[in-house]
């Protein structure tokens, strides 16, 4: 420890100053906490949505806010399972949109959502490669042998779907990495770290020219369905239901389809 600098009056001021700072902090902390809580006014709708909806949902919210003046929609995007954990932990949310039905069922089983979940979008799997396709991949077939393939882990929805689709097509996949979310698969391919990846068609749409997309046979038989429901204990159940209705309306579907989502 360095020696304390000599003080003008000969007394080291650190202890008193420290106590003062601690006291100030103790006074400030509750104020800061309540400050956060009071921002959550009654006309703010909090929507917990799967990470794959990060781009589509704010666009939908724009239309919803126009139809419902005075209501502001706020989002928390995360993996569907994380969101269920947060809801179970008492997170303040009004609407929950999951990327798959299994995870939504977990929320239903724990009585975290009130309404019967409604499917509002679908998604299918595609194969992506870097734009120059350095591994010369031709599809979900033997061309993947010895190449670096990245897929989602079977424990998560996209990985489960990948496994089912590979079985349907009679292919055994030998991935170099099984990621927990589809974003990591996209990242591995766009950086050129992987030769190919299996992702949702919406992810391929979002990645644009950074990837080359190859359709997978029978992908229409392994369809991923997105359910949405109002959250139990929402202090704004009316607005929450209105948002669910808007997402499933033609206006909501039009936005979703522009991002590559299929109709329910």
């Amino acid at each position: 420890m360095p020696a304390l600098p000599p003080h003008a009056n000969g007394r080291p001021p650190s202890a008193r100053r420290l106590a003062g700072m601690l006291g100030a902090l103790a006074l400030l902390a509750p104020a800061a906490l309540t400050g956060c809580a009071s921002q959550q006014s009654s006309d703010t709708l909090v929507v917990f949505a799967a990470a794959s909806l990060t781009q589509a949902f704010p666009r939908i919210a724009q239309g919803f806010e126009k139809d419902h003046p005075g209501v502001t929609v706020k989002f928390s995007f995360d993996g569907s399972s994380s969101l269920v954990d947060q809801l179970a932990g008492g997170a303040d949310a009004d609407v929950f949109a999951s990327a798959d039905q299994v995870t939504m069922q977990r929320a239903v089983d724990q009585k975290l959502v009130t309404s019967t979940p409604r499917v509002f979008a679908t998604n299918v799997l595609v194969l992506i490669t870097p734009p120059d396709n350095p591994g010369h991949i031709t599809g979900l077939n033997a061309s993947l042998a010895g190449r670096r393939l990245v897929v989602c882990a079977p424990q998560v929805p996209c990985g489960d779907a990948t496994l089912k689709l590979a079985r349907l097509d009679g292919v055994t996949l030998k991935p170099v990495s099984q990621t927990t979310n589809v974003t990591d698969v996209v990242g591995a391919v766009t950086t050129g770290e992987a030769d190919a990846g299996v992702v949702y068609t919406t992810d391929a749409t979002a990645a644009g020219s950074k990837v080359r997309t190859i359709a997978i046979p029978h992908s229409d038989q392994v369809v991923n369905r997105y359910p949405i429901a109002t959250v139990a204990g929402s202090s704004r159940p009316g607005e929450a239901q209105a948002f669910v209705d808007y997402v499933t309306s033609p206006a909501g579907r039009a936005v979703l389809s522009s991002y590559g989502f299929g109709a329910p």
Binding site: S82, R148, Q178, T179, T180, A194
Partner: protein, 263 residues
């Protein structure tokens, strides 16, 4: 509590100290209450958990050795630098401590990845680091070595240089002074720094996931397995966390016992 009055801590200090302890201990107690203890043996018997545990121990041992062999010399050199050089080198050395782990992983990826600044040349030579166990060790070393460097450097700066000067005047060459005088003086700091570096490597998650990927037995360490387990069952993830905490506790306490015995 000490009985000598002049060294006793001021009583008011106990209030913030207890709050600090509670901040860490209360969530730990929460974990212990919620964990499905009965399921831990069954969970540990799964190949996925065993592979993850074994991989974590192997990679952390490797990254700790790497941190020691590279970080210790860096700490010694750093402790002798002065002025702008010292500030610059120290800032660079500890930078990984402030980087969010995901950023650390991305930085490694764009540098050592197949199309990275250096990686593209390595790739030509047939060296592909991405998605290998080596990538895990590199990620762990990148984030954990600064803890060793900063601990040892701090200790070296507060040692009495006079002892080294005496050894030198008695004719000892620099390497001899380093081995016989400097390093033994900061022995406890080296042990402490190594322990912290190991612990940091054991808990490493974000950089590993981003840079090395996640494959059972190759790159999926215990924290990555816990993260994956949570996707299906939060309770199982908690149970595996207890295993991680147990391993970490044993490895953190062991050096303390060793030093106590040697005293």
């Amino acid at each position: 509590m000490s009985r000598t009055p002049d060294t006793a801590v001021p009583l008011w200090l106990l209030v913030p100290a207890s709050a600090a302890l509670a901040l860490v201990a209360v969530p730990l107690i929460g974990l212990m209450v919620r964990v499905p203890w009965a399921r831990i043996p069954q969970l540990l018997a799964t190949p996925a958990a065993q592979d993850a545990l074994w991989l974590s121990l192997r990679t952390c041992a490797a990254s700790t050795v790497l941190s020691l062999t590279l970080g210790l010399p860096l700490a010694v050199v750093l402790s002798r630098l002065t002025g702008h050089w010292a500030v610059m080198v120290r800032t660079i050395s500890v930078l990984p401590m402030v980087l969010p782990p995901v950023v650390a992983g991305l930085v490694l990826l764009i540098t050592l990845g197949r199309r990275g600044v250096l990686g593209q040349y390595l790739s030509v030579w047939g060296v592909d680091i991405g998605f290998t166990t080596a990538a895990v060790v590199i990620a762990q070393t990148f984030v954990s070595m600064p803890y060793l460097v900063i601990t040892v450097e701090g200790a070296l700066r507060s040692t009495d240089r006079a002892l080294e000067v005496v050894a030198a005047t008695l004719g000892a060459r620099p390497t001899m002074v380093l081995r016989r005088v400097t390093l033994p003086l900061v022995g406890p700091a080296i042990l402490g720094g190594t322990t912290v570096a190991f612990a940091r490597a054991l808990g490493e998650f974000g950089a590993t996931l981003t840079f090395a990927g996640s494959l059972q037995g190759t790159t999926r360490t215990l924290p990555l397995q816990i993260y994956l387990q949570r996707e299906t069952d939060t309770n199982q993830a908690l149970a595996l966390s207890v295993v991680l905490i147990a391993v970490a506790s044993v490895l953190m306490v062991a050096p303390t016992l060793v030093t106590r015995r040697s005293r």
